[in-house]
Structures are given as C-alpha cells and as structure tokens.
Amino acid sequence: MRLIQVVQTPELRLEVKAGQEQLDRVVKGAYASDLLSNVMARANEGNIWITLQAHQNIVAVAALLNLAGIVIAGGIEPQEDTLLKAEEEGIPILTTPLSSFEVAGRLYALGIGADDGQAKMAQS
C-alpha cells in the first residue's frame, strides 16, 4: 500500500501538512510511540509513525530511519519549524483529530500490520 492510499482513506481524517510530493512511498507497517529513543530502536524503514510529538526533532528521527511518514494524532498541530524541516528532508507529516489508538486501529484494519522486520531488528 502507498501512503497516498492511506491519506485518501476518509475515516482516518488525515490532512497533509508537509511532504505532499512524497506520498507515493510504499508503507511497510506502522509504529506508535511518543518516546523518540523507543522509535529509534523499534520502528523500521517504510513504517508510518503515529505520535503526539509535534516538535521538529521528530523529523530527524523519521529521516534517519527512512520512515514512510509521520501521523501526528490527537488534533495536535505541528509547529511551523517542524513543517519547514519536514519539507527540507522530504518527510510527509499528516495530522488527524483521531487519537493514536484510533489511528493505529484503523491502519490495522486497512491491512497495515506491525512490520515483520521489527522482531528481527530488535534481535540484531
């Protein structure tokens, strides 16, 4: 599945805030966490990252891990410098009024599971 298909799923109520040009990325799983080091350790390339963090440091994490994009949940609006950095780095930032739990559940229902690579990565 591509990120654009996720964006076009009405129930997710997603709004694209940055990275409009990068929506053709292939989504390989998702990960939800608000602790940046936990995301560094457990999220994998191609994952969608669901978080409540909206400051600019989330962009560096997503870029270092080659994530597909970031969903900022809970109706939280990203700061302006977060969006500027995301455009620079080519990281899609999506917002939704839904909670992290609802986003995760709806992504799972779309067939986006936890990435299989995750368990392998945790061991390596």
Binding site: D34, L35, L36, S37, N38, M40, A41, E45, T51, Q53, H55, Q56, N57, I58, V59, A60, V61, A63, L64, L65, D81, M121, S124
Partner: protein
C-alpha cells in the same frame, strides 16, 4: 566488504541546541550510505550516532563527533564537555535517566539512549569524569564477506 581507504568526518555538536539536533547523525548516515555499506549496518550506526548526539545536546555544553570507516569497522566517537555521568552502571540501565521533566515531555530522556547504543554496537566504551565530560566510542564491525 572492503573500504579502500579510511574515511574521516568530524562534526561539532552544540549542547542544548534542539534546532539542529540530529544533523550530525544524519551526516554520518549519509556518509555511510555513500560508502554503500549494508543497510542494517547503516541503521545500527545511525541509531548509535543519533543517541550519542542527543546525549550531548540534552546533557552537555558542547561536543564533537567523529566518524572513521576503515576496511574492517565503523568507529563513531562522541566526546563532550559537560556534567559527566556520575553513575555509569545506572546510566546503562534501561529507563534510568537524569534528564529534566521538560526534556522528557519532548519524548527524550526515556533512559534508552545508552542501552540502545549497547544493543546496536559491537563494542561500546565510555570514559566519563564528573563535571568534565564524557567520551563514548562505538565500534561496529563490517561483514567480512558480502551480505
């Protein structure tokens, strides 16, 4: 996987500067990608570099990071002028952190930085002196044959 010549990079990291946080790690990652190292190794090195960089930004006044790639290994060194680590054994425990409440609210200071580095590195050595600073060296060995 053989790198013909050693490759060195030195980067400055400013303590408490969250604006440019992650740039040293990004540059290290880009360099390793340019050298066509295996993606899993690049990931491990990126995680180590990011955690080391964030530790300087969260805790120290200033610091430097260095990358050296030789034919058998990737070495990342981060050293800083800062508070040092008073209890290194505890600092290595997952969940132990001395970061402020404000920094924790940003999702940092979860007490996972050093444990993450330890998991991703083949060798992690830390030298630290209270009120002077800390030097962290991360070694990741390159695979001896392809893959």
């Amino acid at each position: 996987m053989i790198i013909a010549n050693s490759y060195d990079v030195t980067l400055s990291v400013a303590g408490h500067d969250f604006v440019t946080a992650g740039e040293a790690a990004s540059q290290i990652k880009r360099t390793l990608e340019t050298l066509n190292l295996p993606p899993k190794l690049v990931r491990r090195a990126s995680i180590c570099a990011y955690e080391a960089e964030m530790n300087i930004i969260i805790h120290a006044c200033r610091g430097q990071m260095g990358l050296r790639v030789t034919e058998d290994k990737v070495a990342i060194v981060a050293h800083d002028e800062g508070p040092g680590i008073a209890n290194l054994d505890r600092a290595m425990e997952e969940g132990y952190s001395t970061a402020s409440e404000e920094i924790r609210e940003m999702g940092f200071g979860a007490g996972m930085g050093l444990p993450n580095m330890k998991k991703c590195a083949d060798k992690l050595s830390i030298k630290t002196k209270v009120n002077e600073g800390t030097r962290v060296e991360i070694i990741i060995y390159l695979p001896t044959s392809e893959g």
